[in-house]
């Protein structure tokens, strides 16, 4: 310390120093600790420290039966809770070779797309808030409440419903479901134009996000950055198109790709995805076939011995579930390949040479949910 005090001022400015964006921080979206090594305002490198919300879910899954595991998958990535449940249900049904009724596929796809829209709404709210535009927080969360109302009426809970179960869904749709979804889509299509006016076309936002955090396509593939963050670099990695499941093979929608590779492209991909999701819902909502809401399953679910893998497209990227089963009613090993874990690994690479304020924008554009990283 004494040596630094005795240096002339110009030398002090060249010393590298480390700051800690600690686990409790307004803009790290949860408990992520970043130790950033700076020179002046420029980031030279950064090291993420994870584990502040590591709950040991993979070990817990080895003692839980398959329906009980669904409740834990909700809490891994709570903003795409339906999609996480969907992955485990698809895996169990594929292993037991059970065909679910058509009605179940329609319901699951519609719920997945609603989950994607509300996740992107929350992402947009917190993105704007991180950059200083507090209006975005209120607008986004106000519109998200409409989706939570729809869910509450059908499933009984606003958030973390555990609605999917192996074989189908827990209970049938409420009679008002169609009406509410129609009115939500009608209202949201008008409101989303406001989002573009507030943030997308804003000159301050454009200057803060264009050219910031460049991620090339080869790097995205090598680091495994899937989802909207990867599609912002031109990598076509949407599992709904490449390996369709449920009703995704039978609806028309576009995969949103941008080639700018920067924060602005990743932002625009998500904004456009909200439009595409509403498109998918509109194609399905009026044609839900009548039928059972669940296939007949045995009381105790035992998967045959072997290894299974299921991929789905969650709001953050590719979620993979890998199960090694030895024939019992609990999995022998259950591994979740979560999208935010791989997305985090690229944060160091793309923020070198950026300023600290840009680091906040980059972290927000990757859309990290920390329990998804730590499980």
């Amino acid at each position: 310390m004494k040596e630094i005090i005795n240096l002339p001022v110009s030398k002090i400015e060249e010393e590298e120093y480390h700051i800690n964006m600690g686990p409790q921080h307004p803009s790290t979206h949860g408990v992520l600790r970043l130790v950033v090594s700076l020179q002046g305002e420029m980031v030279k490198s950064l090291k993420p420290h994870c584990g502040y919300i590591h709950r040991g879910i993979e070990k817990m899954c080895e003692k839980d039966t398959y329906p009980q595991v669904i409740h834990l998958t909700d809490r891994i990535d709570y903003l795409s809770a339906h999609i996480n449940n969907h992955a485990v249900c698809l895996l169990v049904e594929k292993a037991l070779e059970i065909e679910v009724p058509e009605r179940v596929k329609y319901i699951r796809t519609i719920m997945d797309e609603l989950a994607r829209i509300q996740s992107h709404q929350l992402w947009w709210s917190s993105f704007g808030m991180d950059l200083g535009g507090l209006t975005c927080f209120f607008y986004g969360l106000r519109d998200r409440e409409m989706i939570l109302d729809i869910w509450e009426e059908t499933t009984g809970s606003r958030f973390l419903q555990s609605y999917n179960c192996p074989g189908g869904v827990m209970q049938d749709l409420h009679p008002n479901f169609q009406k509410r979804v129609h009115s939500f889509i009608k209202t949201f299509k008008k409101k989303i134009k406001d989002y573009d006016r507030i943030l997308s076309g804003n000159v301050i936002f454009e200057q803060r996000s264009m050219g910031v955090g460049m991620l090339s396509k080869e790097d995205a593939i090598s680091y495994g950055v899937t989802g909207p963050s990867g599609r912002g670099s031109g990598w076509s990695c949407d599992i709904r198109k490449n390996e369709p499941y449920s009703m995704y093979g039978q609806v028309q929608f576009n995969e949103v790709l941008r080639y700018g590779c920067d924060t602005y492209s990743r932002y625009m991909v998500r904004m456009q995805e909200m439009h595409e999701s509403m498109n998918i819902i509109e194609q399905l909502i009026d044609n839900i076939p009548a039928g059972d809401y669940s296939a007949k399953m045995k009381a105790v679910i035992k998967l045959p011995a072997g290894e299974y893998f299921q991929k789905v497209e969650s709001a953050r990227g590719e979620l993979g579930v890998y199960v090694v089963s030895d024939g019992n009613k609990t999995p022998y090993r259950m591994k979740f390949r979560t999208p935010s874990f791989s997305n985090l690994s690229v944060l160091d690479h793309i923020s070198r040479g950026m300023k600290i304020a840009d680091l906040v924008a980059i972290g927000a554009s990757l859309d990290l949910v920390i329990p998804d990283i730590d499980r």
Binding site: H54, K63, D219, S222, Y322
Partner: protein, 152 residues
């Protein structure tokens, strides 16, 4: 490329690999010393072009510890699963693949944290989720924690 051609190509590169039958994807058990060389060839050969490592998991098979690599090609859209196993539970070690696929850096740190499997030539092999002073490797089958984990 379909599974049979892929199997033939990989057996041509590593003849000691043993395929496993009746699995969802083409699965091969590869000797640990040849994994790195095979990985490089799989990525750099244009007809194979496995550039996306989408899952790297550790598995404890009771007597052996294994690492399972799920590889996909974004160009040809084929998938292969490779496994490396070791019976050495006291000091398991494999070669790292993070110079081939950068996503392996974090995944290998997680496997080290949960299973104790060391990776040679890894740039930064330390625990990622648990504290540095944590004793034991939780996801191993012989991990004992009387306080928290309920055994039936």
């Amino acid at each position: 490329m379909d599974n049979e051609t892929l199997k033939a190509r990989i057996l041509g590169i590593v003849p000691e690999a043993q395929p496993e039958e009746n699995k969802q994807y083409l699965t091969l058990v590869v000797p640990a010393s040849q994994m790195h060389g095979l990985g490089e060839k799989l990525k750099n050969t244009p007809e194979l072009s496995f550039d996306f490592l989408f899952c790297l998991s550790g598995v404890d098979y009771g007597k052996e510890l294994a690492v399972v690599y799920h590889l996909n090609s974004t160009v040809h859209k084929h998938t292969v699963v490779l496994k490396v196993k070791t019976g050495d539970r006291a000091n398991p070690g494999f070669d790292t693949v993070c110079d081939i696929w950068r996503t392996a850096e974090f995944h290998e740190r997680e496997t080290y944290d949960m299973f104790g499997i060391k990776f040679n030539n890894h740039p930064d092999l330390r625990r990622i989720f648990l504290d540095e002073e944590w004793k034991g490797y939780p996801l191993r089958k012989d991990y004992v924690d009387e306080v928290n984990i309920v055994e039936f």
